[in-house]
Amino acid sequence: MAQDDLYRTVVLERAKAPRHAGPLPTATLNGQGSNPLCGDRVQLHAVLDGQGRIEAIRHETRGCAICAASADLMAGRVTGQNRTRVNRLHAELVEAVETGTAPEGLGELAAFAPLHQHRSRRRCALLPWSALIDMLNDDKDR
């Protein structure tokens, strides 16, 4: 079995050695998401700047490689972005996992496009994102 195109280097690396994992003592926003079916759980901690952009974000993820890598890639990718941009990235990721083709500009997140062949695993990649969107929405509603 050769290098798998779903479990690419980037996915495996981030799952094994995440760059944005751990607590964030300065966090003003905290959120979480879980998938009771497989026991995956993502906790998010973030600070927003004055313009509503994500200044810093960290995740604590217990789950499969897809979920852990997705959380870590997400954290890297959304730093410095606002809600609108997060929603757009999320929509593009959804498109990628549903069609198998990544919209241009998705960058490393395109690694998850092969999930289009694994319907039941899409949720693993999307879980961190829905946790993030919930967290940002909760903040706005306050």
Partner: protein, 416 residues
């Protein structure tokens, strides 16, 4: 691959011929040959079953029991003949003891409802820590509805039923029913049904055995076991979906109130009062799964044509071989090491989530299950959220197990 395995497996029912009976086995998945190692969830269907169902619909179908015409009579005969077949398959004392249900789950719910309804608060239903949700949730619902107590017998660390704890649980004489699996769908453990039944009967309790897994692998003889209730499910027995069986001692069925009401389960109906048909019809309301029942007959005939001697030998050889092969995969841990076991093997792998295992195997054509296997409390007992599980059928080959072990080793390589 060890030559003796090849020999014993091939001797067992000429594997090549068996495989030729299962059309789906020549399918490709993600461009690879399908390697189907999820038979414990549901088995594939031989052409004998497929053809039987199609032929029934093509040449000999009508609603049963009430029709006075040729097509209906013939279909009724075919349907009722399967009741005889099931009675023989399970070693029942009489055909009237065989009730057709949708699946094991409905069979257990039927007992929980109709027999359970006869229990009084303070009486106890005793299950084990390794039950499938199908043999746990109906009893919880009964408890919450009627106030009977639900008691749990633990398992030992190797995944066997803790017989001392069972004895302790039976000691106060309050247990009315012991409902226990005959073979675990997670651990592969085959429970010592004879011993359980003897102990339960001595304590005045009846015994329901969940034979969903066991009946696929070993000959069942409910009379020799002395069981009171036994359930099996057709789709795991190489048969159609939508058909299962409750076997129960006749006197128990006769004492139980009906479960579902409707056509066919009545003797007479008036607005004021209805009376029930004799067993087993009292428990079969409405148009049954006629075509599926007839298809189940074809599945049982197919199984009998191979024979449980061959099936058992094949699976024992495969299981021993697989335990060894998987044991050699680095970081892999087999969950469930009871001495009496069948061809269902759960495992975890250090640093690799079971879901990643399942997906990576699938990308290589290999179908295994990953998750809690409808046994969440057991997962908690084992201290895991999920396992991966490979399970074998009469069509499983040692080559497939080699491929599984080899691919697992590669997967492991990705993650370390």
């Amino acid at each position: 691959m060890d030559q003796s395995v090849i020999t014993s497996v091939h001797a067992a029912g000429s594997l090549r011929h068996v495989r030729a009976d299962f059309p789906i086995l020549s399918q490709k998945v993600h461009g690879k040959d399908l390697v189907f190692l999820d038979s414990a969830a549901s088995a594939q269907k031989p052409r004998q079953v497929i053809d039987c169902m199609a032929d029934t619909m093509r040449t000999q179908y009508a609603n049963i029991h009430r029709g006075l015409y040729w097509m209906s009579e013939r279909t009724t005969e075919a349907y009722e003949a399967v009741r005889d077949q099931v009675a023989r398959f399970l070693g029942a004392a009489a055909r009237e003891e065989v009730v057709f249900t949708r699946n094991s789950t409905e069979a257990i719910n039927l007992v929980a409802h109709s027999y359970g309804g006869l229990l009084r608060p303070g009486q106890v239903v005793l299950v084990s820590e390794m039950e499938h949700h199908a043999n746990l949730v109906p009893w919880q619902m009964l408890r919450d509805r009627t106030g009977v107590e639900l008691r749990i017998t633990p398992i030992t660390d190797d995944g066997a039923l803790d017989m001392e704890a069972l004895a302790a649980n039976l000691a106060d004489g309050k247990v009315a029913l012991v409902a226990i699996t005959h073979m675990s769908n997670v651990l592969g453990t085959i429970t010592d049904a004879r011993a359980i039944i003897d102990m339960a009967h001595a304590a005045g309790a009846k015994v329901l055995l969940d034979g969903s897994q066991l009946a696929v692998h070993r000959r069942v003889d409910v009379q020799a076991l002395g069981a009171d209730f036994y359930v099996v499910t057709g789709h795991k027995l190489y048969g159609p979906t939508g058909i299962g069986v409750l076997w129960a001692r006749r006197e128990l069925l006769e004492a139980m109130p009906p479960f579902l009401g409707g056509g066919d389960m009545i003797s007479t109906v008036s607005f004021e009062r209805s009376t029930w048909a004799n067993v087993p019809h009292k428990f079969e309301a409405g148009t049954p799964a006629i075509i599926e029942t007839i298809g189940l007959g074809a599945a049982l005939a197919y199984i009998e044509s191979i024979g449980f001697d061959a099936i058992g030998a094949h699976e024992d050889a495969l299981t021993a071989y697989a335990l060894e092969a998987l044991g050699n995969v680095s970081g892999l841990k087999v969950i469930g090491t009871a001495p009496q076991r069948g061809g269902v093997i759960s495992f975890t792998m250090k640093d690799v989530h079971p879901h990643d295992i399942a997906t990576l195997l699938d990308r290589n054509g290999i179908a295994v299950r990953a998750g809690h296997h409808c046994a969440e409390p057991l997962m908690r007992r084992l201290g895991v959220t999920a396992t991966a599980r490979a399970s074998f059928g009469i069509y499983t080959t040692p080559e497939e197990i080699d491929l599984l072990a080899r691919t697992l080793e590669q997967i492991r390589g990705f993650f370390v």
